[in-house]
């Protein structure tokens, strides 16, 4: 078995056999998590400061979807890993923007607002926000209004949410827990989940990085399992799984291997994507290079909305 594959048994043995797998997805943009995820969501290589709380410049896929198909706000949601992602749902574009984006849930912020201040120390492992600069942990205080509103939407008491959340092992477990609840109670047509545990690699501890990979592998399978088991989704849902970008190669002298994504070398720019769904060919490998900005026009082609500002091209293998 090639080195490392033992850490992704679910992707390898359960999901890939059901998927069309793109083996070379190249990200030619800035390799910071927020700006890269925003680029995935807009189909344009965004150029804003990765650490700034700004909206994407170009329309997001959520805005294209809602505006073109006249969908309500409840039909597009984002579950995002850290406070830095709170503007990901809606661009600053004048033709789209305000009121047309996705609702964004920041699970860690919700948990922080549900916990008593003294308890936040106990659940630091669930609230840790930023691995990129491990010494920098921005304020994660949450809004009680937001918490109660979401509890109502998810038909879950704040007490039950808190009790379940603190039993989980990581922030990504919390994100997937909320995603499953949201799928059950709201069943949005478009749901974007960003997992972030893997980024613990910035701490330099390889064992924690492996744990993050293994957890993400398991959670991806859980999401697909949920899709198959929820009547609103089963048999009529397409799932795209892709990293935002890679990590530096072991041999690039400008980096420090798995720890960061700073060199811009081929490995840090090249990843993969798998697509699963009722109209997607199974057990199919696509070797040609594609770009991460191709995601948005592909979603547009599948769901039937235009993506006029995207720089990418629809992936013909799955549309």
């Amino acid at each position: 078995m090639p080195d490392g594959q033992e850490n992704i048994p679910f992707l390898l043995h359960e999901l890939i056999p059901q998927a069309t797998f793109f083996a070379q997805v190249v990200n030619r943009g800035i390799l910071g998590h927020y700006v890269a995820t925003a680029s995935l969501a807009t189909g344009v290589y965004e150029t804003f400061n990765n650490f700034a709380a700004v909206p994407p410049e170009y329309p997001t896929v959520f805005e294209y979807f809602r505006k073109d198909l006249n969908r309500p706000a409840s039909d597009a949601w984002v579950i995002a890993p850290s406070n830095g992602f709170n503007r990901i749902g809606e661009s600053g574009h004048r033709s789209y923007g305000e009121g047309l984006g996705a609702r964004v849930i920041l699970p860690k912020r919700l948990l922080a607002s549900a916990l008593k201040p003294a308890d936040t120390v106990l659940y630091e492992h669930l609230l840790r926000d930023n691995y990129e600069t491990p010494l920098y942990a921005p304020d994660i205080s949450g809004s009680h209004v937001e918490l109660h509103e979401l509890a109502e939407i998810l038909r879950l008491s704040v007490a039950d949410f808190t009790a379940h959340a603190v039993s989980l092992a990581s922030p990504d477990e919390l994100s997937v827990y909320i995603a499953r609840r949201l799928m059950r109670q709201v069943a949005p047509s478009m749901l974007w989940i960003t997992l972030h545990d893997i980024d613990v690699a910035h701490s330099g501890a390889y064992s924690l990085y492996l744990q993050g990979i293994q957890r993400s592998d398991r959670l991806c399978a859980q999401i697909w399992e949920t899709i198959q088991s929820e009547p609103e989704y089963a048999g009529k849902t397409t799932l795209f799984i892709l990293p935002d970008f890679g990590r530096d190669s072991d041999t690039d002298p400008g980096g420090n291997g798995f720890q960061h994504h700073r060199t811009g070398d081929a490995l840090s720019r090249t990843t993969w994507m798998m697509v699963l769904g009722p109209h997607v060919r199974q057990n199919t490998i696509v070797d040609r290079p594609v770009e991460s900005v191709d995601l948005v026009p592909t979603l547009g082609r599948i769901l039937g909305f235009a993506t006029p500002y995207s720089q990418g091209k629809p992936l013909t293998e799955v549309v």
Partner: protein, 398 residues
């Protein structure tokens, strides 16, 4: 300001040796493009606190560029001259704040999609320097020694998997006195080749090897420094400053700010140790990360002849807070996995140095029968199950 406008007064705030070089090289500095010059100054401004090998690298750049005619220089620097800069970058005080400039410049290169172009220009330039100023082989082949797995009773983790294709996997090592034997080997090499900063010992715990020609860095010994640093960081974060302000604060920190000596020869090591904690990510929290990063930086910067690193169990939790006298819960098994990868990276970093084809490497699972050895006389991708002592293993490697 443009490079052509430089004059000696601009370097008044530089430390003495750096100022002397800058003024001597002024005619050359004036001709260099702004996409390269501040990065050279970033190295030069710290010249007084650099290791001999780093000083030589700076000197080599001047020796490479200095004799060039105007046309040759323009041609060599052409790939850098092609890089576009913003007016904000041009207006920065890049002479006195080259670190700040390089951070902003890096962000700008990513933002304007010029990072790949700059990356290629830099690699080609360094290749040019090395071709023109070939390095002398080291006086003795380099030796890297790594000890992993302290406090681990047994493991099912496949150790040394990434290194096995390059050497011999020994599975029947006689472990007695292993650590002492490796310490002795380091001391013997230091005595035989008493060159400044040529022999290093980096420990994840508190063990020190006191010898005038061995540079010793200990994670535990730096705990008061780490505590002070973390308190300052936490205070900065609490003030509402963002990550960029935090990075700037870290970059400006001096050894005396965290209780390290900053005078004479001691300043060189103090600044090195401080940089491990301010520039390294995770080095403040995990001893395993600290040892790996310290080894990487020692190899990159000091280019030692001998490097011995010893991994100890890291703390289990990734809590970002000072440890005031308390002993954290450790995770030996996870630390072994960290150290196994760290050993692989140490070998890669050692192989980047000159004389790589003659260099040797040994990693040993402390107290156990497993070790992996790489050397010019050893086969690749081999396994050896014969009983062998650490001393005999060292004999085979070197």
């Amino acid at each position: 300001m443009l490079p052509s406008q430089l004059n000696p007064e601009h370097f008044q705030a530089y430390p003495p040796e750096a100022r002397r070089i800058a003024i001597r090289q002024l005619p050359l500095l004036r001709q260099l493009p702004l996409s390269y010059l501040p990065l050279l100054l970033r190295e030069l401004i710290a010249y007084d606190w650099k290791f001999p090998a780093e000083r030589k690298e700076i000197d080599d750049q001047f020796l490479y560029l200095g004799p060039m005619s105007k046309d040759q220089l323009a041609e060599t620097m052409h790939p850098f001259s092609e890089i576009r800069l913003s007016p904000q970058l041009q207006n920065m005080d890049w002479v006195n704040q080259p670190v700040r400039f390089s951070e902003d410049f890096s962000a700008y290169l990513w933002q304007t999609h010029q990072i790949d172009q700059f990356r290629k220009a830099s690699i080609d330039f360094i290749h040019g320097v090395h071709a023109a100023r070939p390095e002398q082989p080291p006086p003795v082949p380099r030796l890297g020694l790594v000890i992993v797995g302290q406090q681990v009773q047994a493991t099912s983790y496949p150790l040394f998997r990434k290194l096995r294709p390059y050497g011999v996997h020994f599975t029947n090592v006689v472990a007695s006195n292993g650590r002492e034997t490796l310490h002795s080997a380091l001391i013997q090499r230091a005595q035989a080749h008493p060159i400044p900063y040529a022999h290093w010992y980096i420990d994840g715990g508190s063990t020190q090897i006191l010898h005038p020609h061995i540079v010793c860095v200990s994670y535990s010994a730096l705990q008061p420094v780490r505590n002070l640093l973390l308190k300052k960081m936490i205070a900065t974060i609490a003030s509402g400053a963002g990550p960029e302000a935090l990075r700037t604060q870290l970059a400006l920190m001096r050894p005396e700010d965290v209780g390290l000596p900053d005078q004479g020869e001691q300043a060189i090591l103090s600044r090195f140790q401080l940089s491990l904690l301010t520039e390294g990510s995770g080095t403040q929290i995990f001893s395993t990360t600290f040892v790996q990063w310290a080894a990487r930086e020692a190899l990159r910067r000091a280019q030692p002849l001998t490097l011995l690193t010893h991994y100890t169990p890291r703390q289990r939790d990734a809590e970002i807070r000072p440890l005031e006298g308390e002993v954290p819960v450790t995770d030996p098994q996870a630390s072994l996995i960290d150290a196994d990868m760290g050993a692989y990276y140490t070998w890669i970093n050692q192989q980047r140095l000159n004389g790589a084809e003659q260099s040797s490497f040994l990693v040993w699972f402390e107290g156990h029968r497993e070790a992996l050895a790489i050397g010019p006389k050893l086969p690749r991708a081999a396994t050896d199950a014969n009983p062998i002592s650490i001393a005999d293993l060292l004999g085979k490697v070197t």
